[in-house]
Homo-oligomer: 149 residues x 2
Amino acid sequence: MESKNSLESRLRAAGRRMTPQRKLILSILDQTGDHLDAEEVYRRAKQQNSNLNIATVYRTLSILKDMELIEQRYFARDHNVEYYESVNKGEHYHFTCLGCRKIIEVETPKIVQVQKEFSALTGAKFTHACVCFEGYCANCVNDEENLTL
Amino acid sequence: MESKNSLESRLRAAGRRMTPQRKLILSILDQTGDHLDAEEVYRRAKQQNSNLNIATVYRTLSILKDMELIEQRYFARDHNVEYYESVNKGEHYHFTCLGCRKIIEVETPKIVQVQKEFSALTGAKFTHACVCFEGYCANCVNDEENLTL
DNA sequence: TTGCTATTGCGAATCAATTGCAATAGCTGT
DNA sequence: ACAGCTATTGCAATTGATTCGCAATAGCAA
């Protein structure tokens, strides 16, 4: 967890300024364990600063992503919305339940192994992997089987 | 490779009709080894039938996806465009080079292993995995290192 | 050939995300 | 504390991929 001061100085080092809007958005991202999209961040932030504009949220998320403080994620197959989560979690991937929309985190070294093997084989260098799994969680499997009968 | 007749009958079985537009779009998807998005399918098809509309391309791609004749894919980190490829290839994943935009296919059993392990552990059932890798291919690694210096 | 209805072309609508711009407000140096 | 530079904001308009409504058209089964 970053202290506010070090975060502020990181912003400054990047020639940026600490504004109330950014403080607010940062605090929301810091407090939540969820994966939020821009709309949801906006909705929560707006309750505390009714003047906030959604463009500011998008711009702030983009900056935080550039600074590698948050990670952009996609969930579900037809992923057309970007979600964000704090980076200070270990390497992990996501499973989205199509029944209850719950997101379960998947931890495995195998994805990184794939990258290493492929690099060794081809000489390529990885910068990013987007992995999203989809299906039905244990609770929803039965419901889904009933549906498809 | 499906024969045209069996494809036509599969369409009919689904209560659909074979139209010149669909024939055209199917032939383009059949001939190419590339991964095409709707715009590119449209561009290529339009050369042969200048009356074709892009909405028809989107609708046809959607039908083919529902019939599981083609697979929807995303490439690159900020994937906001859907690409399609024929399904009659083995299980594989994609690496996109950020330098030359080349797409390299990655074959590995490890992704499926991750799914199996997670299923065994949690009881979840997978329906789909979206995996896209990104980085620099062997040819572009050096250029990229020069850029970031 | 007829009739039913799936399909098409067209334009308008969506929806998440981005951008241009003038007004505002951090921050640095004095 | 102040002044000045410029990063940032709010707002409205725009983008870009994709979808949708609808009237006209055209497959296809009888």
